[in-house]
């Protein structure tokens, strides 16, 4: 089962659209779910994501136009409980301890957050933390140069394979990480 994780697109306020390379990769029919960390920001982007697949989950980011998105979400895919939150609520931004606290609060196996526009994926206390970064490479308040990135999770039974797509020098790269549920 393929799950797409992305966020912080900031279309059209900071960036005009997804990079061409990424657009070519994302075709309908292959992905089953989309988890979006927020800050899309407009309805057009939401519609675009819906063309890729019907099952789209979005949480509210601080620049989203739509105030009706929820702040946090828990989705169960396969055997994994996945928590989704934008991350601007967590202070300090991207702090490991605070994220761990949130993870324990939500009681999830995988916690996905954004807002830092920086890709991260690590394991802590047998739980997995993913930050897909910004799919468009939009600038961040603290960091003006961001590498466009998003994550594709391949969930099988009790194991998770992570494909990280990053756009470096006009070409995309793919990395693979694996995580097994204890």
């Amino acid at each position: 089962m393929l799950v797409l994780v992305l966020g912080d697109l900031h279309i059209p306020y900071r960036v005009s659209g997804l990079p061409q390379e990424f657009r070519k990769l994302l075709t309908p029919g292959r992905i089953q779910h989309i988890l979006c960390t927020g800050n899309l920001c407009t309805k057009e982007t939401v519609d675009y994501l819906k063309t890729l697949t019907a099952d789209v989950h979005i949480v509210r980011g601080d620049f989203d136009d739509n105030p009706n998105f929820v702040d946090q979400k828990v989705v169960t895919v396969g055997q994994f409980r996945i928590g989704l939150c934008h991350g601007h609520q967590i202070v300090p931004w991207g702090d490991i301890e605070s994220l761990s606290m949130l993870q324990r609060q939500m009681d999830v196996d995988i916690l996905i957050t954004g807002h830092t526009h920086k890709f991260e994926a690590f394991e802590r206390d047998n739980k997995f933390f993913i930050n897909p970064g910004s799919a468009t490479g939009a600038f961040n308040a603290l960091n003006s140069s961001t590498i466009p990135s998003f994550v594709l999770m391949d969930i099988q039974q009790g194991s998770l394979t992570l494909y990280v797509y990053q756009l470096v020098n006009e070409k995309f790269t793919v990395e693979r990480l694996e995580y097994r549920k204890a």
Partner: protein, 626 residues
Amino acid sequence: MQSYTERAIPKPQRPPPPPPPSQSQLLTEQTILSPQFEASSSSSPAETSIESINDKEKHHPSLLSEFKRLFDTFNYESIREAILDRHMIECSFTTVLWRIFLHCLPRDSNEWNEMLNTSRINYEKLVNQYKIDPYKMNDDNNDDTKNVNHPLSHDENSLWAQYFADEELKGIIIIDVRRTYPDITFFRDPRMIDLQLRILFNHSRHHHKTIPYRQGMHEILGIIVYAICSESLKINEYQESNELMKKLYDSQYLEHDAYGIFEKIMEHLRQFYALTKNNSNMRKSKSVNDTKKLIPFQRLNHMEISINDSATRMNSIFERLRTYDRLLHDKLQEFNIEPTVYGIRWLRLLFGREIPFESIPNLWTVIFCFDEHFGFVDYFFIALLIQLGQIIGKQEELEHTSYLQSLMKQNVITNIEPVIRKALNLTGRQIQLLPDEPIISSIRKTEGSELYSIENDREDSTRAKELQRIPIASTPKRKLIRPHIADARKSVSPPQMNNQMEPIKHSSSNNTSSSEMIKSSESYNFLDSEMNPRVEKTVRERFEDNIRLQKCCAQYMNKFIERLQKQVCDLGIPNEDELHIQLSGLKQIATVLDGTLTFDGASLQTLVDYKHKPESSIEENNNDTG
């Protein structure tokens, strides 16, 4: 009856009557139907041995002897001649014959073992080759960022891309497979659906450059699978099957064998499934290259000129029709009905939808054995067209649209044997043609045919006239009674009953004919095509008509009894009491038939017993009255 045991092959679970065509019924029906054909065709002198064996099989299926006779020393020429001369119409080993004619198996049965093993192994290899597990790749893969095989890749070499393409293809195939022959429960079994999906998928992947999957292939495969499974079932339950028979029909390898047959057939049918070339360019200009492909004097449709193979073949067949049935040819041209309109379905499904399901294997056997290139298809095409033309010609209205509609109707022909013989005649063989009458009357007789429903719309008087047109003396009695029953079934209002009673009076006996008719209607039920989707309706109809028949009989009986009674009273003979008792017995029976009295065997038995003691009965009567 069959004993149902759990096997790899699914058996359709069916309610006893009326059973949908199950796997074994297919063959028993064929053997029962075949004597009828052989009786009606003029007897051919020599070839009685095969016929008699077919007859024997009706009573004692000695499959082993048939197998040995056919395949121990396979005399290709003689068997081919037997099939083409219509001496061998039915065979319990049709799929083996197919395999030989299609060159899946060599002619020498000693080589079969090897051949079967190799072909089955090849199929296994094929299945494994096309089974893609993208996760297997992950284990071998290094962490080289450039070569990581990721799910979103559109790279042609990517395993994931292939995986998704396969899923898409399987999705297309399964939609069609789920819709094959919806009437037959055999095809609804999930194992059969998976089996067909696998075969079609593997075939399509293996031949994706030459014959990609198209709609229609699933029906061809359906027939093959059905034939193989039904024969395999019969062989595996037959105690005396020998080694070779069991190996040929090994239930583990049905898929492999079906694939082999399917592959060979598709090689020939490839031309019909080719995509039509884009015709829009042709309208504008004819380039030099294209004129080469145009047939001289080919009728140019003002809309487009199709230049693909199947269309040219159909057009050439159509031209040949001109020599055989000029009238029909001109009529079709007048209506501007392109042969491709109806022909494409005929050819792509190898006439699978035009003829009854049970007859398809027979036809295919003839096609496969005729020659290497399915040449018989052309002749059968023409013969079928002529046959349909005759049927349609009997209709009143012949407008363009209704003509085309009638041509496009499915399952109009119910008896293909005459059509096959006609086609064989066209090839130049000297075959005894069946007389025309049975064709038409057989089409009218069976219920499921569309033609019969067309006829229902006609006036009833014309139907009665047609009844009387059927010669009474020449046809055997069973055939005579059947059309009457067919009409008895359809009639609703009482005045029509009188219309029918007259032809019944023409037949020999009157009162006894009622019981015979009931018996023959029962036998007719047994012979009735089980493909009929409206079986329940006809059973009820038949039942109701039987009741009406009984009431009518009772009516007539009462009339006769009254008259007899009057005569007896008038005569004033001494033993008239006894006669009255007999008459009262008859009256009781009449009331039972009428339905007003329930059948009381005891009282009737006592009435009968009175007969044996005439003096005592008279004494008792005297005592009663006295």
